[in-house]
Symmetry: C2
Subunit: 416 residues, 2 copies
Amino acid sequence: MEGQQITHWPLYINAAMSICAFVLTVRLIPRFYDLFIAADMYGKDMSKKIPKGQEPKKVPEGLGVITGAVFLIVMFLFIPVPFWRMWKSDTREDFPHDRFVEFIAALLSICCMIFLGFADDVLDLRWRHKLQLPTMATLPLLMVYVVNYGSTTIMVPKPLNAYIGNDINLGVLYYIYMGMLAVFCTNAINILAGVNGLECGQSAVICISVIIFNIVQLSGNWSEAHLFSLYFMMPFCAVCLALLYHNWYPSRAFVGDTFCYFAGMTFAVVAILGHFSKTMLLFFIPQVINFVFSVPQLFHFVPCPRHRLPKFNPDTDTLGMSYTRFKMKNLGFIGRLAVRVCGLVGVIHIKEGVGEDKEETECSNFTILNLVLKITGPMHERNLVLVMLFIQVLGSCVAFFVRFYLAGFFYDVIVY
Amino acid sequence: MEGQQITHWPLYINAAMSICAFVLTVRLIPRFYDLFIAADMYGKDMSKKIPKGQEPKKVPEGLGVITGAVFLIVMFLFIPVPFWRMWKSDTREDFPHDRFVEFIAALLSICCMIFLGFADDVLDLRWRHKLQLPTMATLPLLMVYVVNYGSTTIMVPKPLNAYIGNDINLGVLYYIYMGMLAVFCTNAINILAGVNGLECGQSAVICISVIIFNIVQLSGNWSEAHLFSLYFMMPFCAVCLALLYHNWYPSRAFVGDTFCYFAGMTFAVVAILGHFSKTMLLFFIPQVINFVFSVPQLFHFVPCPRHRLPKFNPDTDTLGMSYTRFKMKNLGFIGRLAVRVCGLVGVIHIKEGVGEDKEETECSNFTILNLVLKITGPMHERNLVLVMLFIQVLGSCVAFFVRFYLAGFFYDVIVY
């Protein structure tokens, strides 16, 4: 789009469409409750009081698919807007196909991911598929990256310049990094979940942080990359908040894997094509901590129950830590080490000598939800979500500090 | 790709990948049976004998989603191949973004459609959505058409030249036509269904016809458009035949709406971007006839039961005509006219004076399956499918005759 005058109106149109998307999604979601329940897509909220003699209420699950569909429709309708001037011209030679293909490929990756997420909600796919398929879904994106940029050279932080030079060409490693970014983003949101409103809430905080970051960068100097990111983030923010409205405590709808995958892929897409993958990872600080903390259970060094969400106490209507039980002698070396070290540092709670033969050990599950509950004690579900979202906001503040203040010490040019 | 030497090897690689896709899909499908049945995605085959005291067998439904996923993965892996030479060059200026975006947009439309079909299988969407959403899914495709070609001028058949000139610019009508083509293709396959193997079988025949057509055109002169079509049709043919293997009488798997939508959209995509939408419609002759024939029931001029598939007679293990019952006086004018005219022409079978009060009328459902059964009499299910596929092959022969022989009388230049 060189030589083109800078106009803000595609951004305004995008904002207006986002507002419409919000209203549409808020109204659309409840209309699908019956369809979802009829299709056997529902869950039972394990953290709610059930009046005596009543069945737990069926909560429709996987409503993220509606947000995904609305997002796709909005983006399909929006794509022509930033290219409007070029379309009217009779000379199609000048059409910026390279920008255009970025939009289409980004939507292809996101659409694949929504599809996969929905299939996962319906069919309960295996772990293997959850890692393989997001990798496939990023392929179109990586192809566009190769074609449009192709640079796999990154700048080396100043303290290391003396040893490995000013920049380093990562080659194929850089593509592997980007592929893994998508797998990480999609799964990181999925494992920091389990209380009403947390998946949508954290996505909304990350999304708003990215929007602020883009606007700050754009006000400095005009950049296609940040504009591109805004075009995707504003409608995403809209549908995400709309879903949060229905998913907030007490949930009338569960978001399902669909939403987590959709959100993760959307973040990965804008990070990769917007060239700010490192900054994006900074906004994922709580997710990164949760992921690293979860490693001993995710890789089964310590037994991992199917659900690790906090345990509901119906007498006090609060959530407390959930535990996993095992015999210490049955763990491998790494498992024993993980339990001992985490216990010593105080990030998990250990009860020894439990069970019938007094030989079993119980420890709180390795998630930051349990860690927060260990520090604060049992808490009402809504308060727990608020604390978690506060942590997420805090993470974004740290991210901004690192990005705008500390980065200057490590890089001469601010890279994104 | 001007100035590039013509090489056939991307085509060979595509063929090799298609063979792999066939083997993979044949082996993959049975592994998902249990997942589908556990997810409540199954149907009961209404045209099979059930041994006394036994429940009808649960047949997993919606397996088309596996073929769609394999197709997408194969295409993702294939896309870099035809662009390989351009990728290695250091000057990215020459990269044919316009060709590249066609691949990505085509896959975006197909992926959207697989997603929609799967959502339909799971949630049983309303008719409204089935018409609206395919229209949305074609948007990326139409955008690419605008950008890359933008010509909405069609040639006028010679006999009409004297009245309206040699060519005519249809403008926005042309885009509406292309959007409706996608809606038609997806739904036309879906309504010519109901006996084991018919959806896959007809798609396979159409697909093979397109492949033959493309090869004939390519042998005449090299054309990117027909090459593009082949790249999509060969892997599609592979996954389609793999599904047919499991869907053939007696079916171990049902294809679901997913497959019909996936197949229809794939045909629409290659027809639009390959510039042979009229020829494609010729391959759809049986579907067009079935659609036109179905209009009285589809638009509810005549009552339409939920399933119009032929009726199974367990005593003879054959299929016969299925009927819809109504009171003639309750029909509107168009309904009465349709029943009378169709009865007179002999394409439906009418029984009058049935029901308790002898005032009701029964007529065979308005589908070509019933028409075939009216002509031949009751038939075994496998034979019925073979007759239908024979009709489809006959349709393709007519199409080739019209396209390669008759078209010369109407057009000077063979347009595609």
